[in-house]
């Protein structure tokens, strides 16, 4: 039992270090895309952590929670990425339509 406890400690320590590094990148990311990427990576690591909790607590409900958490994290990533992309595109599109109008006139 002590051997399995040591293995659990190593596994949770390495996973927690991964979450800690992505939290550091979220705090000091130069652009907003770095922060978005750090959030996405944290979501994927937390899916693994929740399934580890399902094994530790021997409860089948945690796998459902992990699936639902992954779905919400995926939607969050897509929505934020599309928002930032459209934020970049809007002024250039306006400039293009203005220049095309000017050419037509």
């Amino acid at each position: 039992m002590s051997g399995s406890l040591l293995i659990d400690l190593i596994v949770f320590g390495l996973t927690g270090l991964g979450v800690f590094f992505s939290l550091l990148r979220f705090l000091m990311g130069p652009t907003s895309f770095d922060r978005l990427m750090a959030i996405d990576m944290m979501n994927v690591i937390i899916i693994g952590l929740i399934s580890l909790l399902a094994y530790m607590f021997k409860n089948n409900m945690y796998m459902d929670i992990a699936i639902l958490y992954g779905l919400l994290g995926f939607i969050e990533t897509i929505v934020f990425a599309r928002y930032l992309e459209n934020q970049a595109n809007t002024p250039s599109n306006c400039a293009e339509t203005k220049s095309m109008d000017g050419d037509a006139k």
């Binding site: 320590g13 550091l24 990148r25 899916i47 930032l84 970049a88 595109n89």
Partner: protein, 123 residues
């Protein structure tokens, strides 16, 4: 005996997955560029999630169906999210690092834009 083999395989897979999570965090912290950081974090976390969830499913076989479902789900969604993020970053002109010399998508995009503009002019 089968319990021992099952525990050995499960703990090995889980430890490998946790190691890949650690490597993904290290790559996210140390890589010089947005694109290399995204490649390191996405690939390593996908493999780590496969390994950890499969290890949990082998350690406790009553979780195996849901863990396989979770693996399929992560394999479908994680590359899509990374490709959407990298497209948004490329359209926002996030700078690349000094060592990057090849930009393969720029001539394709300029070709598409010139073809589109040419078609509009012909009309």
């Amino acid at each position: 005996m089968t319990d021992l083999i099952q525990q050995i395989i499960g703990y090995t897979l889980t430890g490998l997955g946790a190691l890949f999570y650690f490597y993904a965090g290290l790559g996210l912290l140390r890589m010089p560029d947005f694109y290399t950081k995204l490649q390191a974090s996405t690939k390593a976390t996908t493999l780590g999630t496969f390994s950890v969830v499969l290890g949990v499913g082998i350690l406790n076989p009553s979780f195996l169906g849901k863990s396989l479902l979770l693996i399929v789900f992560v394999a479908l969604t994680n590359p899509v999210g990374s490709s959407v993020m990298i497209r948004a970053a490329y359209k926002n002109k996030v700078p690349v690092c000094k060592e990057t010399t090849v930009d393969e998508i720029a001539p394709i995009l300029t070709n598409q834009e010139s073809q589109r503009n040419g078609g509009e002019n012909h009309e």
